[in-house]
């Protein structure tokens, strides 16, 4: 077998970063990204992109920490380079605050972010409703810049990009030898996975350039994330809600909750509402599957289901997905008893 032809379904942060990793790390393969939506219409474009990871109940903590660390290190290098502005990656400091002392005062990612420590009494005075807090410096990675930056790198290594809605993964056979499924919520249909469901998030993107710190309520429901050209105010977590249209009442609620934490936001202007559906699953699905239909075989690497931790975990899981693709490619190249596959 000569060049192994790989197709990645989905062009959000998972699809594009996996494609870039494959193009760099898997020898003698071609990579094509196929998607219905591209930036700025993907879920990754709505996400604020703060590197503050959630916890996946079904994934071992050491694995989550590894993925987070790999992503952090990758983005940290970009943040300190001349690429930072183009890639939409920046360093932000701030506070995560709690209304009651959390059971876990030091989360698993404390030594991955920078300068993690408990907030002092004086710092907590700014938040009279909160009794405990963590101060640290982390990264923000913004979809609307990062995704085009990934696309550029992909094209630079010879990768192709196709706009097409895929209804069934078999459509990719026999044009492609390996399929990487990064379709997020699309996997309900494409992979028949009923474990994945949307958690609707509504956010406001506002102009408030004097806000230089992030503030996140430990519950994760209210947050203020300053970015390059706007500040993201959030949010909501509505399980099973597929509605992509912004709700005006919810927007009022978000603004009100954020102004309570940061009163200067009363002066925020040019308020834009956005909705994203987090592709949520008890754990990230990162595994190989060999699809079989009659005599046809199609190796698939599933790489989806990151919920609210997509940007935070993407590079680590993309590297792992790439290893799985490499294994599939090896297997295809080995002239071996086919039953081994």
């Amino acid at each position: 077998m000569g060049t192994v032809r790989v197709a990645t379904v989905g062009a959000g942060v998972m699809g594009l970063s996996t494609a870039v990793c494959i193009s760099k790390l898997v020898p003698r393969c071609s990579i094509t990204v196929i998607s219905e939506q591209f930036t700025p219409e993907t879920t990754s474009d709505v996400a604020a992109g703060m590197l503050i990871p959630p916890v996946y109940p079904d994934t071992p903590i050491h694995k989550q920490k590894q993925w987070f660390k790999e992503t952090f290190d990758h983005l940290f290098a970009i943040a300190n380079s001349a690429e930072a502005e183009d890639a939409g990656v920046l360093l932000v400091s701030g506070w995560q605050i709690f209304r009651s002392i959390p059971t876990e005062e030091v989360p698993f990612w404390a030594d991955v972010v920078l300068g993690f420590r408990k907030m002092t009494e004086d710092e907590l005075k700014k938040f009279p409703q909160h009794v405990f807090g963590q101060a640290f410096t982390t990264l923000k990675c913004e979809g609307p810049a990062y995704l085009p930056w990934l696309e550029k790198r992909l094209k630079g290594s010879g990768g192709l990009i196709l706009t097409r809605r895929i209804e069934d993964l078999w459509e990719l056979h026999p044009s492609f030898d390996i399929v990487v499924n990064c379709s997020g919520l699309g996997s309900r249909q494409l992979a028949g996975d009923l474990k994945i469901f949307p958690v609707r998030g509504q956010v406001l993107k506002v102009q408030a350039p004097w806000v230089k710190h992030f503030i996140r309520d430990g519950s994760g429901l209210t947050y203020i994330y300053p970015g390059i050209s706007n500040v993201t105010l959030g949010g909501t977590r509505q399980k099973g809600d597929w509605n992509l249209s912004p709700d005006a009442e919810i927007s009022k609620g978000i603004l009100s909750r954020c102004c309570a934490l940061e009163p200067s936001l009363h002066g925020a202007c040019d308020i834009r509402e956005k909705v994203g559906l987090r592709p949520t699953r008890p754990g990230v699905r990162l595994e190989k599957e060999l699809l079989a239909q009659g005599s046809r075989r199609l190796p698939v690497v599933h790489h989806y289901g990151h919920g609210s931790g997509g940007i935070a975990m993407h590079w680590g899981t993309a590297l792992e997905a790439t290893r799985l693709v490499s294994e599939c490619a090896q297997a295809l190249r080995t002239p071996a008893p086919k039953s081994k596959l």
């Binding site: 001349a82 502005e85 920046l90 932000v92 400091s93 920078l114 230089k212 009163p263 009363h266 002066g267």
Partner: protein, 347 residues
């Protein structure tokens, strides 16, 4: 009681505001005017980045340490007000970088969350091996002067564009008390060999991904002679120039290159940042702030002059503490003249 404040930088306007706030309700009549040759955006305050940070070494006058702290606490009390951004005020965190270990600064417990930098943080700055992280405040000069001008106008304070040639001319015309906030030009009204310009040049760039201040220190070269990057509300200030005795108000190309190269080396992400503006200002450098009362004989009586100038590169950092001190001296003058209807209990 007629008060004339000479000077409309942060010192002049905040002193005018402080006096009016404290005394207009306890005096029969209080008339405050501000005379200045330059108003915002043409003052030195407008050039300053506005980060609250005193010099690293303890001031020769210990009162200055107290005035710095009073200013920080006063500004901090306004964080949490919906008006903070209108005042030009916001919290700002960042890095102070050194080539070797140094003692902690005397103001480490004034700022918030002061700590040493971790090794991974220092990795971001290969030319430096030691440093601090803390949360401070930014008070943008221009925005703050605009805000003070609005507040003073609301209170009926008048502004006059006027070149004052002498204290006498002001005393004979209008004033019972003169507050001298003429900054680096104070020598024109009364020779002061201790006062010198500390010329600074800065470049403002659009780099909205920068959310932290980064200040480097080179003890051999001296304060402000090492690159610094301070994000403001809209633009980021790049600096690193301090030239004693240089009165040149035009931007200098060598200084531009020094700033640009130094800051790009410190922060490679600046490479393609667009330059928004470039300007020069004069820090009113003095071994210590001149904040004292002087009585000038004018005609048959004495005119009170309260000097408040010479705040070097820490004017915004110390301004409110000094304004309070001037207000105290003013109160004493009122007492001596039996002008107070009731004692200023809130002082």
């Amino acid at each position: 009681m007629r008060v004339v404040v000479i000077g409309a930088g942060v010192i002049g306007l905040s002193t005018a505001f402080c006096i009016h706030e404290r005394y207009h309700s306890v005096l029969q009549s209080l008339d405050v005017k501000v005379y200045a040759e330059r108003f915002t955006p043409l003052t030195n305050t407008d050039v300053a980045a506005g980060l609250w940070q005193p010099y690293l070494s303890e001031p020769s006058n210990p009162q200055e340490a107290r005035w710095n702290q009073q200013t920080f606490n006063y500004l901090l009390s306004h964080i949490g007000s919906p008006n903070a951004a209108d005042m030009g005020l916001a919290p700002l965190s960042g890095y102070n970088l050194f080539r070797e270990a140094v003692p902690d600064p005397y103001w480490k417990d004034v700022v918030l969350g002061f700590r040493k930098l971790t090794p991974r943080e220092l990795d971001m700055f290969p030319d430096y091996s030691y440093g601090w992280f803390n949360t401070s405040l930014i008070l943008e000069g221009r925005k703050h002067l605009q805000w003070l001008t609005e507040r003073l106008t609301e209170r009926g304070v008048k502004f006059l564009l006027r070149k004052v040639e002498s204290f006498e001319e002001v005393a004979r015309g209008d004033a019972d008390v003169i507050i001298n906030c003429t900054g680096v030009w104070a020598g024109a009204l009364q020779p002061d060999p201790l006062l010198q310009p500390g010329r600074g040049q800065i470049i403002k760039v659009a780099a909205p991904w920068i959310k932290h201040f980064i200040i480097t220190h080179d003890p051999e070269r001296g304060i402000y002679k090492s690159p610094y990057i301070i994000p403001g509300i809209q633009a980021v200030t790049l600096g690193g120039i301090f030239q004693l005795g240089n009165w040149s108000e035009t931007n200098n190309i060598q200084d531009h290159n020094t700033i640009w190269e130094g800051c790009c080396r410190l922060e490679p992400t600046l490479k393609d940042a667009k330059i928004v503006s470039e300007c020069t200002g004069f820090r009113p450098v003095r071994p210590q702030v001149r904040l004292e009362r002087e009585q000038l004989p004018v005609g048959s009586s004495n005119t009170e002059v309260i000097h408040n100038y010479g705040h070097g590169g820490y004017g915004l950092t110390i301004h409110w503490g000094c304004a309070l001190e001037v207000a105290k001296i003013f109160g004493k003058i009122l007492e001596e003249r039996n002008l107070l209807r009731m004692p200023p209990s809130h002082l």
